[in-house]
Each structure stands twice: as C-alpha cells, then as structure tokens.
C-alpha cells in the first residue's frame, strides 16, 4: 500500500460518521417534529382572504346584499 493509499484511507475514515454520530443522526430524523404549516401557503391564503374582505367591504350595499344566500338571509 502506498503512502497516498494510506493517507486516503485515513482521510476517508475520518470523514465517515462514527457509529454514535450515525445513531444520533438517525434518532434526530425519526424524532424530528412534523413540519409546521408552510409559511408560503399561509401567506397566500391570508392574501386571498384579505383581498376578499376588502372587495366585499368596498362594494355597493345592493351588491353586498345580493351575495347573501337566500337560505341564510
């Protein structure tokens, strides 16, 4: 085995995860909490709701009244 081979083996060995490191990573993955609500999705929803509120608030009274379903009037 050449000097380079020997050094490469040592380099590779030092680069690999040790068993405790690998076990710790595995546990961290399995125990990771579920992702929170996607911020982009939430932002998009809030944008649409806000737009709708503004639209309804600024429309003429007659138009707003026409939006109400008869069953709920």
């Amino acid at each position: 085995m050449s000097d380079l081979d020997e050094l490469l083996d040592l380099w590779a060995e030092s680069s690999r995860l040790t068993e405790p490191e690998a076990a710790s990573m595995l546990a961290a993955v399995i125990l990771a909490p579920e992702p929170a609500l996607d911020p982009a999705w939430w932002q998009d929803l809030m944008g649409r709701v806000s737009g709708l509120v503004v639209q309804v608030a600024t429309m003429p009274e007659a138009a707003r009244a026409a939006m109400v379903l008869p069953a709920l009037a």
Binding site: L4, D9, S14, M25, L26, I30
Partner: protein, 178 residues
Amino acid sequence: MSAAAGPDAERAFTRLYEEHRPAIHGFLLGRAGDPETARDLLQETFLRVWRSLDAVLDLPVERRRSWIFAVARNLVIDVRRGQAVRSGAMAALARTASETVPAGDEPPARAELAERLALLDGAIRDLPEPLRIALSMCTVGGLTSAEAGELLGEPAGTIRYRLSEARRRLAAALEEAS
C-alpha cells in the same frame, strides 16, 4: 410519515438509512467540499426520505438509492457555494490525529501524520469538483466506479479516469509539499 407511523416504518427507514447513508454521504462530502455542510445535508436528505417513506418503499428496491440521491443532489443545489467552514475540516483532522494514529506512535510521528493529512485534505478541497466527488463517493462512500457512475449518470470509465486523475494530482501535491 412520522414517529406515529410505528415501529415497522422505523425499521424500514433504519434499513434504508444504514444501506444508503455511506454512498449519499460520500457524494455530499465531495459536492459540498466541507464536512459540516455535508453532514447537515445528509441529515436533511434522510429527513425528507423519512417524510416520504411510503413513496420510497413503493419504489422497486433498485431504484431507491437513485431516488435518495436525487433528493441529496437537489438539496446541494439549494446551498450556496462558498459556505465551506474551515473549522469543520480542522475538527475532523484533529479527530483523525487523535483517534486513528496508533497509540504507540511517538508524538513527532503523530504530528507528521496530522500534517500530511492536513495537506491531503487541502489538496482534496482544491481538486476540481468532478474529481473530488468521484474520489469521495468511492473512498468515503465505498462505491465502485460503476455504482458511482450509475448515480451520477456517467460511464464507469469516466469515474475511473477521474479517480486516477484525482490520485495523480494528490500525489503531486503531497510530493511538492515535501
């Protein structure tokens, strides 16, 4: 998929993790060029695998590694280059010096070895990325040229050439330093 998925899912995931972690780690190390970043990306890769476990397990066994590899490759693309943290490499080298050198070695020999490892590490960092990835996948990841080539979409002969070229450059760098 989550911890609530139960012990069967955990066992299946653990098998995937044990089987494919070295290869994916080898790729990420070569691609990121920095041990700390590679570990972070490795953990994130397997977090995504865990959260998509059903989809992965639905794949034929021979396609699972490619699927995981694609996740890792896409993650790397999201990471800005130039984030290499020198301290990560130095910590790894310090560990190498303290753990892999036989205990009976005299301090000067140990220091010399650590110095040569530091030289090698620097030379590996300086390799062109395709050479570094091939080297890392085959040494750290333990893949054959054919296996690395399959994941990278390159012929095995190309990987063999890159390995040979990487070794030539590393030998020259070590020779020049001494």
